[in-house]
Structure formats: structure tokens, C-alpha cells
């Protein structure tokens, strides 16, 4: 049934449809409404789950780890400072191979404190062994969370479903909510392989001595890599059942494009509108949106980008003093690729700065110039800075 839902509501409903058993989360803007909604479901008896009001995000993730380890389907949600505070536990959840699903409403990092959208938070934990999916709209949030449990439980990996704070979390729009029975068919109950169970005692989280540690990490690495195929497989099945598919990356009018915008998350929508307008003017521009950012979909991307002259990577994060994370990863994917397109990086939308069509157009124009001269002078640029800014303030 279609309903008008905010991104947060879509996430909460997805968790409910997934019949999560343990919810353990801590309030933080702009994610809080997810947890509030789930509290309501539980209070009303609509969802039969343990709702844990933990005292911090570190404990939120720790409790999910405990719950998943005994074999309960666990869910949490957070943002920004919350994600940072639990970052130690993210690596551990992945290392323990526990299929936790987390919604992250993307928000800027302190200091200064800022509750608005950018993607610095989830980017900061991109090495952790979590699968990361970035959503473009509220429908995708709901669908991705349901898919996430399948991927997570089949590969024994945690999955983070990321979506832009406020821009999606607080925006209401029509979302198709599947029926519970259909979801139940798609997503069977979690059957853990080696749960903590007195009937069959196991030890989890031992000391990984140097004789074994690297192999254990390698297995985790390969499992995350295997998620590429698994995401595609699950997505295909989901598509058959529910009529919606997303894939690892989405290619939008990019087949014959000379200039390709590479994006993550909600700004892709605005960019697509702009692409349409540019196409109308005969400009050969297109867009590729990375949905599965970890594992990084190298092969698909190389294919999607290989015919472009310039790829302009727009992203809402920055490895301070250097470049955007997506930009580095795309560069890495295209390393050794002969005739690879020129690469440009546009940092934008930090801390809630609106990414206006004007800014995207500026990126397109810069890319067009680069295509013309066949060279990129300043690979990393910032979009939407207030113009007259003085000094380093030092």
C-alpha cells in the first residue's frame, strides 16, 4: 500500500516488517524518529520485540552484538556523533560476523556541532567491514532495509543503510509499503549458524593471535567482497517479488555520456533533473549513482564510466586536508584502466549546505571545460562556499 512517509518512518516500518526481535538505539537528530516510531509499535503491541533504551550508542551497538550473537534479529539506528561513538563496535560487529542492520541518517560531524546533512559520518567508518548502501529516496530506504537483512544473514555481515538526514529522514513522500506476508516470504526468520546457546557452547571473540589474525581478516574481506554478488542476487529476487530493483550502481543516461556525474544518496535526484535539462539542450551528460559503496563495486563502475571523458564526483564528505572518499575510491577503481576518464572532485553540501542545481551546473561546466582542454588543474574543488571568506583564521 502506498503511504506518505518520511524517511525515518519508512525505516521504522521496514524494521517492523522485518520482524526485528531486538531494537537497541539511542536518540540522535535526525534519526530519532525511527526509534520513536518503533517504540510506538512496541508499546501498541504491533511489533513483538525487545526495545532497549540504552544509555549510549556504544552500548546500543554492544547490545545489538549480544542480541545477534544469541540469534535474535537486531536493529539499530543512529547518526553522526552516535556513529562515531560506536565506531569501535562497528569494527567488532563486522569482525564477529554478526548480521546486524543499522539505519544511519547521514549527518555532519562535530566540531562545530551541526545536526544537518552530510555524509562524513558513514564515510568515516567505510573501512569497518560493514556493507554500506546509500539511498536516494524513501522508497529505497524501506526496500534496502528489507534487502539488508537477507544480505546480512546470508553472508554473516552487518549492513548499514545510509540516507541523508533531513533531506530524506524528515521529508514525507509516497512510499509503497509491502504486505507483511509478502515480506515474510522474502525474509525468513534468522537462523544463526553458531549462536550462543548452552546446548552447543561456542566461544566468540577470542584473541586472534598473529598466527591466525590475518587469515581471519582475509575471510572477512572476501565475505564483504562477496556481498557484491549477494546484493545483486537479493535485489533481483526482491525485484521479482516487489517490482523494484536498485543494483549496485544506478546508471542514468550515462551510456553515451561524455560527462558523468558520480553521486551518492539524495543529491542524485536533483542531479537527474538537471541532467534531463542538459540533455534537452543536447549536452551529453549522465549520472552514475553508487548505491553499494561497500563493497566498492569496481567492475560495474569501470564499465559504467569507461566511455566518459570526464567523471565529476560530487560528494558530501572530505578526508580533511586531502580529497573526498568516493573520489579516492573511484580513482582507485580506475587506476591501471587505459584511457580512463579525467576525474574531478566536488565537495559540497557539508553540514546542511543546500546543494542547489546551480552548484551542480557549476560542476558540469567545470567538467565540460576539463573535457575540452583534456586536463584537470585542480582536482578537488568545493561547491557552494560563501564567496568572500578570508584566511585560515589563524
Amino acid at each position: 500500500m502506498k503511504q506518505v512517509l518520511t524517511g525515518n518512518e519508512a525505516a521504522a516500518i521496514a524494521a517492523k516488517l522485518a520482524r526485528v526481535k531486538v531494537i537497541s538505539a539511542y536518540p540522535i537528530t535526525p534519526q530519532t524518529a525511527i526509534v520513536e516510531k518503533l517504540a510506538e509499535f512496541v508499546a501498541n503491541g504491533e511489533l513483538d520485540a525487545e526495545f532497549m533504551k540504552v544509555e549510549s550508542e556504544h552500548s546500543a551497538m554492544s547490545a545489538c552484538i549480544g542480541a545477534a550473537a544469541v540469534g535474535a534479529r537486531a536493529f539499530t539506528a543512529t547518526s553522526s556523533q552516535g556513529l562515531m561513538l560506536m565506531s569501535e563496535m562497528l569494527y567488532i560487529a563486522a569482525g564477529l560476523r554478526l548480521p546486524i542492520v543499522m539505519a544511519n541518517a547521514n549527518r555532519a560531524l562535530s566540531a562545530p556541532l551541526n545536526i544537518w546533512c552530510d555524509q562524513q559520518d558513514s564515510m568515516a567508518v567505510r573501512d569497518s567491514g560493514w556493507v554500506q548502501l546509500y539511498c536516494e529516496d524513501n522508497q529505497e530506504i524501506l526496500d534496502s532495509i528489507l534487502q539488508a537483512y537477507r544480505v546480512a544473514e546470508e553472508l554473516m555481515l552487518p549492513v548499514m543503510v545510509c540516507f541523508d538526514g533531513y533531506i530524506l529522514s524528515h521529508t514525507a513522500e509516497p512510499v509503497d509499503v509491502p504486505e507483511q506476508e509478502e515480506v515474510d516470504d522474502f525474509l525468513p526468520p534468522y537462523r544463526p549458524r553458531h549462536p550462543l546457546d548452552p546446548a552447543m557452547p561456542v566461544t566468540m571473540g577470542p584473541v586472534g593471535v598473529p598466527e591466525y589474525y590475518q587469515e581471519i581478516r582475509y575471510m572477512l574481506h572476501e565475505a564483504v567482497r562477496a556481498a557484491r554478488d549477494k546484493i545483486v542476487e537479493v535485489d533481483r529476487e526482491y525485484g521479482k517479488r516487489f517490482g523494484r530493483r536498485y543494483g549496485l550502481v544506478e546508471c542514468y543516461r550515462s551510456d553515451d555520456a561524455e560527462i558523468i556525474l558520480l553521486t551518492l544518496g539524495s543529491l542524485s535526484g536533483t542531479a537527474k533533473d538537471l541532467i534531463d535539462r542538459s540533455r534537452k539542450r543536447g549536452e551529453r551528460v549522465g549520472l552514475v549513482r553508487v548505491r553499494a559503496y561497500r563493497p566498492f563495486p569496481r567492475e560495474v563502475l569501470v564499465k559504467a564510466l569507461e566511455h566518459a571523458k570526464v567523471v565529476a564526483v560530487l560528494e558530501k564528505d572530505i578526508s580533511l586536508g586531502w580529497a573526498g572518499a568516493l573520489f579516492a575510491d573511484v580513482s582507485c577503481a580506475l587506476a591501471n584502466v587505459e584511457g580512463a576518464p579525467l576525474l574531478m572532485n566536488f565537495i559540497c553540501g557539508l553540514g546542511g549546505r543546500d546543494v542547489s542545481p546551480l552548484q551542480i551546473r557549476e560542476a558540469l561546466r567545470a567538467a565540460a571545460r576539463a573535457a575540452e582542454v583534456g586536463e584537470v588543474k585542480r582536482p578537488v574543488r568545493w561547491l557552494g562556499l560563501r564567496e568572500k571568506l578570508v584566511g585560515l583564521g589563524i
Binding site: 566540531a111 562545530p112 560563501r386 568572500k388 571568506l389 578570508v390 585560515l392 583564521g393 589563524i394
Partner: protein, 92 residues
Amino acid sequence: MVEGDILKIIAGAVITEPGNTAQTETGSWRNFRPVIDEAKCTGCGMCWMFCPEPAISKGKPARVDYRYCKGCGICANECPFKAITMVPEGRD
């Protein structure tokens, strides 16, 4: 801070003008306005003591600074002498 149309930011976003929220007149938030009946006011200071902004100065009579008063009505509620009335703001 913006000076002229130039954005001047100190490293770390340090603010060096203590108390400069005073430049923002939150009186505009007000829906009800406290009006002091000077005759009734004894200058007891209770309204001053309990104003969260603060937007009342001590004295006989006490005086409301409408630039900041948000119209919460605490002063009226707490005035031991019922010297303050809240009247609707801005309409009509």
C-alpha cells in the same frame, strides 16, 4: 561573523564577543505581552528573579525589556501582587 559582506571566521569557530546573542531580539517570538500595573508593583523583584531570558529589570516598578521578552507569562504567574497581566500581542 560577517563584516561588511566579508565572512570572518576565527579558527575553530571561536566566538570572541561574549553575550552577543543580545543582538537577536527574541521578543519577536512573543504571542502575549506582559504589562505591569505600576500602581500594583511593589518592586519586590520576584518577576526579575524568575524571568528566563532575562527580560525584566528590577525596580519599582519593574520594567520589561520587550526586545527579549518571549511572553512566557512566568512573571505574571509569579508576581505576588498580581501586578502583571498578559495581553495578546500583535493581533488587531
